[in-house]
């Protein structure tokens, strides 16, 4: 009897110690989500700087090497340079997403998530825009399908871009701060794509830097149907983090 009690006591003690070790070793992790957002420009359409009313049926963009970073000091995208973080988490696959999916009221597109991301503040993100190997955007990094109307003329267009670009971005700038992941919680980061930088925006002053740099839609009229666009993606600054900046290199 005494021996049994001793064995039981030792067993309980061992289980207790194992439980303590397990709790002490538990990491502070949570779920980090990555979203892609074409904003209302894509979801609702807009009027280009040269007066074309553009609506999008599909905007296929192919993304790879999506990585979030906890950087200290915070990464400065204005200066560029290698993005190094104390903690890095990312998505391992290549994703082709349709930024126009879901209609006018759709939320940003969930590209993927990491479920055991270390807690902390992810204040930088990088990704690459690469050519898709399959699917509706096969062979291209960006495919834009839509309709443009002006002065009673309507053009159905498909524009293909095969340039590949890398974006290294600082912290998201918007209505709320993003990337603050607490233990057991969920946080998100956003890759924002400003298509008004390509076509300009009639609601923005024409002397604004955005419209001065944008091409408008007129240059694409002749090649709109299945044409391949030769855009200088590096100068168009398509990729952002909300209104925050990204350092971009394209080839």
């Amino acid at each position: 009897m005494g021996k049994r009690i001793s064995i039981l006591t030792v067993s309980v003690l061992c289980l207790f110690i194992i439980a303590l070790i397990g709790c002490a070793g538990a990491r502070a992790v949570g779920t980090l989500q990555f979203h892609a957002n074409g904003e209302d420009f894509v979801r609702e359409g807009f009027v280009s700087k040269d007066g074309w009313s553009i609506n999008f049926d599909h905007v296929y963009i192919t993304l790879a090497d999506i990585t979030a970073y906890q950087t200290d000091p915070p990464y400065d995208p204005h200066s560029g340079g290698e993005l190094k973080g104390k903690v890095n988490v990312g998505l391992n696959e290549v994703y082709t997403v349709d930024l126009a999916e879901g209609g006018t009221d759709a939320p940003p597109i969930l590209v993927g998530e990491v479920q055991d991301a270390p807690a902390g503040h992810y204040n930088a993100i990088s990704w690459k825009m690469v050519k898709a190997s399959s699917g509706p955007a096969s062979g291209y990094s960006l495919v834009i399908v839509g309709t443009a109307e002006k002065d009673g003329r309507s053009i159905d267009f498909t524009m293909n871009v095969d340039k590949e670009c890398g974006y290294s971005c600082g912290e998201y700038v918007g209505d709320e701060r993003k990337g603050i992941l607490e233990k057991g919680g969920t946080a998100d980061l956003e890759m924002t794509f400003h298509f008004d930088h390509i076509f300009g925006d009639a609601e923005t002053p024409m002397d604004d830097e955005l419209n001065l740099a944008a091409l408008g839609f007129e240059p694409f009229v002749d090649i709109a149907e299945g044409g391949k666009l030769d855009l200088n993606m590096g100068e168009l600054h398509l990729g952002h983090v909300g209104e925050g900046h990204c350092y971009c290199e394209c080839h």
């Binding site: 200290d72 000091p73 915070p74 503040h121 600082g170 912290e171 700038v173 918007g174 701060r177 603050i180 400003h194 008004d196 923005t204 830097e209 955005l210 909300g242 209104e243 925050g244 900046h245």
Partner: protein
């Protein structure tokens, strides 16, 4: 024996009277604190000021919630005084018309300086008291030593 106790009482009185004490006389005292003001200037990439840009300031101890909100003036300028009791990276965000930027400013723990024109620190008082007690105790023990 009475002589020894008289000496002990004398030393204790000297010990009590010898500790630093506040002088309630015709003195003056100035306390001071050095505060830092952060001035930002928000411009578009063209160099034009972001006049009226919305500004949000986040403190290091609460990165999720705004510590201060405001707006730049017509020249894109905005100033504020951070709480220097919260050392770390202070984040300032400025946004207008679809454009925005963010900057992180480190504020060290030694940035806030407070002080005064007089008084001793706690450490100084403790050291002086220990020295005084040790001195008086040693002297008392000397006179109380057994004579060979």
């Amino acid at each position: 024996m009475d002589m020894k106790w008289n000496l002990i009482i004398l030393f204790v009185l000297l010990l009590v009277l010898g500790l630093p004490a506040t002088a309630y006389a015709h003195g003056a005292r100035i306390d001071y604190t050095v505060n830092m003001t952060i001035d930002i200037v928000a411009n578009y990439d063209t160099g034009e000021p972001m006049g009226g840009a919305q500004v949000v300031v986040y403190a290091p101890d609460d990165p999720s919630n705004p510590w201060l909100t405001g707006a730049c003036d017509d020249e894109g300028r905005f100033s504020f005084t951070p709480d220097t009791s919260k050392p770390g990276s202070w984040t300032i965000q400025a946004r207008q018309s679809g454009h925005g930027d963010i900057v992180h400013i480190p504020i060290g723990a030694d940035t806030a300086v407070t002080g005064s024109t007089g008084g001793y620190t706690v450490l100084q008082i403790v050291l002086m008291a220990v020295c005084g007690i040790w001195g008086f105790a040693g002297t008392a023990l000397y006179f109380l030593r057994r004579r060979a």
